[in-house]
Symmetry: C2
Subunit: 433 residues, 2 copies
């Protein structure tokens, strides 16, 4: 089955956009004390030029990958689609505060209001838009839990692109709802490793019983995109332009916190897999710390089962298993690391965003590892207090924040990044209810 | 397992409420040309007195069931919780209009932004609140697809009530995500018929292979509530006070349409099972028609597999199978009607809201029946154009609206009630993708 998009509307529709939807993305590169180490060509080990990335990405995104200006304007068509759910709400967690008996004031920034239920459409829409205006007709990608594949399928439907997704086998088998979600948007979804690519066939031969990994799925999606000039590849996390697009989250949160009278929070907790929700929430705060000397502490909360920031090496590594991607300077567990099949499928990645890695390496951001049991128990406490069931990924940030809130003795301001809701990952809670 | 609510906060928290959250519910009874026929005592066939309903409902809700004033103030604590997702968005469906090539301007009012993904929390929160302030400690209820059970569990978690749910067996077995959702909020969920009640045991004896029905599940929940003075029963549709609470939908839509420059739509399509989403959306428009002579046409879209409005009789009937409820004057297929196991579990009810039935009987509202295949195909068209996957229930309204929009030759204004998103009902789309 191929998708038949109903319409391709790259021009703005002229709809009214909520006034608080940001007009620009914020680029942390402008404020960092040292530049982010460049991505390297795997053959020459020289910094990549635009032409090296052109087979996979449109020129606008390649430019954003190395951009150094502080603000980049969001195209009107993208802002219109953002306006469907943005600004996402920032809630004060009064009931959670009471439940914990903490003197802290806790806020959470909730990305689960997007049509697919997570923060991923923030970059999916942008990536689909830049591809569409440059004539790309199809995007390939990988997905873990399925949030990214569903988000890109959503964006493809609205902007007239076919979308083909390789989903990590363990999630493909255990989470059929996500596949149907992608297909409802017109996307095509394969389990990875598949026999549709050389990379997939090689992996199936060497690891016939593998449950897959994001690194394997990336190899397959990249291989297919590289073979067709009208097909490009789209990555849901890790790369600099993805971090950029997600900064609408943190920019909105800063405005909303100021309106709430808590303009400078003490601590911000975000979950970290590839780093995109974390970066989106925290980079605007980090930029302010660097420019204005505020002291907001930023904490990456990663799963202890896949601890790239707290246990990995900071070095150049491939983004995928087959070694098809550029070399990225990042905290990594090694490209061949296959994480256990934890419930937070979106956090099962061997590496970490180079920008996040760089910030942690410079001491600008902290990182902690959270056990899955603690995370999901924290998710239940949150659900019963606040009425929102967090995505398994988000529960890592919730757990970090709850532990902190229980420990503080003075009033302080805590912000939690709630990257999505748990509706399509409810079985993750099954052992705990 | 019993729920252990973390906190019970019946006093307002003092949070800021979006200014467009309605301050009052609208009561259609004030504007009807003839009063809604009263509910009758099944023994005496006399109109019910408050004392007849007291074993099941708190006095505030009993009063609302027979209220005739036009506006009833929404308690501040309820409005604060509404403010988590209300006002729900009203979107102009530009891309759907293009896809259909219609001259109509199509809007949709989207209730899927609530924490459980449907309109049901609008009344769940109100019912839990009125019960809690009168000292109820536990609520029992029935659920079909699970949206109502999840909504009441959500409300119980926030307002400190235990919640016990009987879910129609066919949905309980085919939709495990909903049960986990209820449990994540601390609710308890049983398949119905169960061996926990006399009504359930009798049904299992007479119909050992039954897949259940809402009417059966109501009998079980009512029986349990009637046995304990601290336990009350909560109904997610049908009753007058439920219709009342849902009118926040239509009131918001009227304000939003006026802001969009289309204050008086030509046609409003809502899906109809028990009638609550339909009534919530359409009653404020109907009231304006009656008071001001506007001519907005209101269309109830019900499944052809369970066609109470289009095929049922308008007469007094029980709300449940066992005959434990009062007699309600309504369009009914007969209390023993067991609808086929269609995907729109929320529309599988033998009767119809007495207020909606009365309005249809007076010629104030139209009704059509929609085939499941047409409904879900319309849902896919909508998803790929607008980026939101409708709940199977909502697709009936979408199908009615799409057929109408394709037929019109002049610009007119159409409003669709999108009662929820389809995230937890994605398997319904499986045969169509």
């Amino acid at each position: 089955m191929t998708t038949t998009p109903l319409n391709r509307s790259l021009e703005p529709l002229g709809v009214s956009i909520p006034s608080k939807v940001p007009t620009h993305w914020y680029n942390l590169a402008a404020d960092l004390p040292e530049p982010v180490p460049p991505h390297l060509h795997p053959g020459t080990r020289e910094p990549l030029g635009p032409e090296d990335l052109a087979p996979l990405f449109p020129m606008n995104l390649i430019a954003q990958e190395v951009a150094t200006e502080r603000y980049i304007e969001i195209p009107e068509t993208v802002r219109e689609i953002y306006g469907m759910w943005r600004p996402s709400p920032l809630f004060r967690a009064h009931r959670l505060e009471r439940a914990l008996g903490t003197p802290a004031r806790i806020y959470y920034k909730y990305e689960g209001v997007s049509p697919v239920g997570s923060h991923k459409p923030n970059t999916a829409v942008a990536q689909a838009y830049y591809n569409a205006i440059e004539g790309t007709t199809k995007l390939t990608t990988e997905t873990g839990a399925g949030q990214w594949g569903a988000s890109l399928s959503f964006a493809g439907a609205l902007l007239g692109l076919d979308v083909e997704v390789w989903q990590v086998r363990s999630s493909f088998d255990s989470k059929p709802y996500r596949r149907i979600q992608m297909e409802a948007y017109g996307g095509i979804c394969h389990p990875s490793p598949s026999d549709l690519t050389e990379a997939g066939r090689a992996l199936l031969k060497s690891h016939p019983d593998t449950t897959g990994s994001l690194g394997m799925a990336i190899s397959e999606a990249v291989e297919v995109a590289a073979q067709d000039p009208n097909t490009h590849y789209s990555l849901g996390s890790v790369l600099n332009h993805v971090m950029l697009h997600q900064t609408v989250i943190g920019q909105e949160a800063m405005v909303q916190l100021e309106e709430a009278g808590d303009a400078v929070p003490d601590t911000v907790f975000g979950c970290a897999g590839g780093g995109s929700n974390l970066a989106g929430l925290t980079f605007p705060f980090l930029g302010r710390n660097l420019r204005e000397g505020t002291k907001t502490r930023l904490v990456a909360c990663e799963p202890s089962a896949c601890p790239s920031l707290t246990q990995g090496e900071y070095r150049y590594d491939f983004g995928d298993v087959a070694g098809l991607t550029p070399l990225l300077k990042m905290h990594t567990l090694g490209k061949d690391f296959v994480p256990p099949a934890i419930h937070a499928g979106g956090l099962r990645y061997h590496g970490m965003s180079p920008m996040v890695s760089h910030a942690v390496n410079l001491g600008l951001m902290d990182a902690i590892a959270v056990d899955q049991d603690d995370a999901l128990q924290a998710g239940l406490i949150f659900a019963r207090a606040e009425g929102i069931i967090p995505a398994p990924e988000s529960t890592h940030a919730v757990a970090g924040a709850i532990a902190h809130a229980r420990a503080v003795t003075e009033p302080e301001v805590i912000v939690i990044g709630l990257s999505g809701n748990g509706q399509l990952d409810l079985p993750a809670y099954s052992p705990y209810v």
